[in-house]
Symmetry: C2
Subunit: 574 residues, 2 copies
Amino acid sequence: MLFEVWAPQAGQVELLVAGERVPMKAEPRGWHRVECDAAPGSEYGFSLDGGEPLPDPRSPWQPDGVHGLSRTIDHGAYRWKDDDWSPPPLPDWVVYELHIGTFTEQGTFAAAEARLDHLVELGVNVVEVMPVNTFSGERGWGYDGVDLYAPHSAYGAPDELKAFVDACHARGLAVVLDVVYNHLGPAGNYLGNFAPYFTDAYSTPWGDAVNFDDSDSDEVRRFFIDNALMWLRDYHFDGLRLDAVHAILDTSATHFLEAMACDVDELEQETGWPRVLVAESDLNDPRMVSDLERGGLGMDAQWSDDLHHALHSFLTGETEGYYEDFGSLDQLAKALRQSFVYDGVYSEHRRRTHGRTPREIPGHRFFAYIQDHDQIGNRAAGDRLTHLVDTDALKIASGLVLTSPFTPMLFMGEEWGATTPFQYFTAHDDPRLGRAVSEGRRSEFASFGWKPEDVPDPQDEATFMGSKLDWSELERETHAEMFDWHRSLIDLRKQHEELRDGDLSRISTSFDDEEDWLLVRRSSFTFACNFSTEERSVPLAGEHEAVLSSGDTSVPDGKSVVLLPRSFTAFRAK
Amino acid sequence: MLFEVWAPQAGQVELLVAGERVPMKAEPRGWHRVECDAAPGSEYGFSLDGGEPLPDPRSPWQPDGVHGLSRTIDHGAYRWKDDDWSPPPLPDWVVYELHIGTFTEQGTFAAAEARLDHLVELGVNVVEVMPVNTFSGERGWGYDGVDLYAPHSAYGAPDELKAFVDACHARGLAVVLDVVYNHLGPAGNYLGNFAPYFTDAYSTPWGDAVNFDDSDSDEVRRFFIDNALMWLRDYHFDGLRLDAVHAILDTSATHFLEAMACDVDELEQETGWPRVLVAESDLNDPRMVSDLERGGLGMDAQWSDDLHHALHSFLTGETEGYYEDFGSLDQLAKALRQSFVYDGVYSEHRRRTHGRTPREIPGHRFFAYIQDHDQIGNRAAGDRLTHLVDTDALKIASGLVLTSPFTPMLFMGEEWGATTPFQYFTAHDDPRLGRAVSEGRRSEFASFGWKPEDVPDPQDEATFMGSKLDWSELERETHAEMFDWHRSLIDLRKQHEELRDGDLSRISTSFDDEEDWLLVRRSSFTFACNFSTEERSVPLAGEHEAVLSSGDTSVPDGKSVVLLPRSFTAFRAK
């Protein structure tokens, strides 16, 4: 098989495979190549100028962790069973975000596969998997990946990941993978030994930025785009969620994201089924999700943190950190109409004007969620909205998100109102790094008034274990009721095409921030929320019937309706 | 009058005016304001928290240099005589770049005004003035400006600059001003004392970048946009040339350049005459000069360094620095067809793929030139193309540029083949800075094999004096002949609308890089260049007449024509 590595600064590169040192041939533009017999599963590494062997930057498998040797695999060997697969179109998506390590007790691809029928029962049709690339230590969220081509061994072997995707497809579930192209993790990152993967021209929260536009950046861009194509082609993923793309700094005439979108388009043609690119973007820039032909970056969708923040701070009253920019019913209504609350208005938190109106962007290009891994896990104790508001408020929140013109997304366990936290956990082997992470976490939250001993230690295994879902909760009545509520909402969305219509010009809201009620109108539907602890009479002209409600409501009389305290009701014009 | 300054970090700001200290009132978002009687011409400054008075960041006049106090002026007092002014439309432009300090012996606005009839005689219709903002020391190029609202006093008072613009308009000459928004000069920059004008999130060749997208950037953006509007409104400039916009790093949803373009559009509506924004961009990104409605940044035009480099390296054979990326006739032809040679192809010099095809961008959105202040002055000895190639080659070069579909631009003196260099000169008062600049220059060129004593010292007044145009050259025959050549070419362009047609799809080239000839076809015109030292027979189908030639040519016989060695001829189909 062909072994190759890009190492433009190295004089001599040797392949170490099966105990042998094989000199590689230097080829143009810094590539080194050699043909060598090696069975799948062979250990190998590259030695630069006589140095110790290092793992392959494009290693497909790191069973011995980030510092170990790489292993060859044969992507052609897996027998796929999803020949007839075609994913649901984006406007139909209902997404379920999960973390392999904590979704199940065992924390493996195989164990996750065994829980897929639960998702089918719930009614979601897309699974979004937090990063599965190889990172330092057994436990982690995955955003510290360093072997970006290799599935994390604690979750299972490459074939087990393929089997997981295959099993999803067999059940009609599309699968999106979370990938991180804006930085690499702090341990086991050998990329810099091989080539100028990083640049000091820009700074990011994680240090030097990835080199997307400086000298030798062609190969760096190729490294990440090839990674995207590998997951989509060799693992049959239906899309990628791109972490924090605002930290991908690139002044090239063709932005990295655009270049990736073009190559993914080609892959779609080649494989005959569409793939979806979803950006996590903090820019509130409609260009992110505009088509390439219109000068956009060609992402199919992006996460809508503004809607999350508007909903979270309105429901909880929290004003810390970025929540200082949110909290009013007015903002929540705006977020429900167009996703971006900050669309060219001044942000106190950012101390600058932020964003731009997302004119003509279809709603399904925004992912809407009450919570996600970050919004839970970046809290000191990783507490979910379940811990902060009552069941009534949770039902209103999920009602709004699951009937929105956006692409709704749940975070694992949310469907039954899981009480387990999702905390920040790591397992760095290097004790100095481990200590730094633990202390960093404590000091981060000290500024918010947290005592050090109250902040869970990321390095402590108990923090990880406590973040696993407790599936036995589902058997308890209140949780089963919450599950039914979510299932009913998803079902309502499935049954009515007008609820999957992303035309944002067809949505309108009215609200009263004294009386604390909100109406969202979409075609024949009116979604009525009463946030107050009193009954509220709200205007509802014309004949309507209540098709789904979190509590009882009075029958509409053609002019108004009385909403029970803290309730969500879906009305439909007769 | 109202005095105001943005100083968000200062507790107490005082105005010092006419020897008095007047406390200013802190207002929202970090502004401090006070109304105070002061006649135009009053000295003033601002004291932050009891400190020494500093010049106003928006000082309109710094007669005592960058460290002196500011002076008030009344922009309403000047009596403009250009009421009926309307500038030529961009496709008609022929631009003349000049530096006030070296254009004339005296180096003032008033002296430059006295030379305007020369430009009228030449036939150009736009004057582009190198930066006139106040910079450290008397002499300099102007790119080290620190008082961006104040005309440099060595050139004259604000009213003298207005009189210069007025005199241009009286002669039908539009005036473009070079402004620098990507960095401030190294001496006299007090902006950082007042507010976070800079950010360490990005690095630039000049250190910390200007803060266009971080906290408090709204006011920083306002500072620069207001500066642009001031020159256009209060000084009647017809446009701005924006220095090195690739160093304006901004990830906002609305890019700084776009925001500026919008505000300039409004000013156009208000004043009733169009203004032109011309970017110096190293990005080869068509988005720079695409309309706002098409997702562009809304610049009207940009400089075309690729055409310069292709022409320069082909004519001189130079391969140092960025010229290593150029040199072939093929590249010159490509540049003449579409400006960008690097349109998505690999650049050896940059070690990466560069640029993007400028599809559908009209040619007049690219400024074309044989030389400019940078391409001359950034050479060790500031030598012009005149010093490097013979008169024949100069004539071919100017023939190609002045008959191109782009907006042609000459650098002062080029029209007569001036032999004076344009060297890099400074006059920093601070001896340490002065020494650093002198030594920096010497060490920069040492790497290209220059002996220290052969590199002109920027701080030496002789370097400046030697860079002044020698107008007596014009009286000599060879120079007068060159002047006539330029005048004839400009006249040809003026007489034929088809030569001002910017549709790049209508231009084609053919060439032979063995025989060293090139044909450029535009509508009924064919421009024929023979770069070789021998006669060349080139194909020219159909009936043509030679309408302008740098040497004699044979009469076309309907199939071909014989070009004299090293000649440029404009043929027109009969």
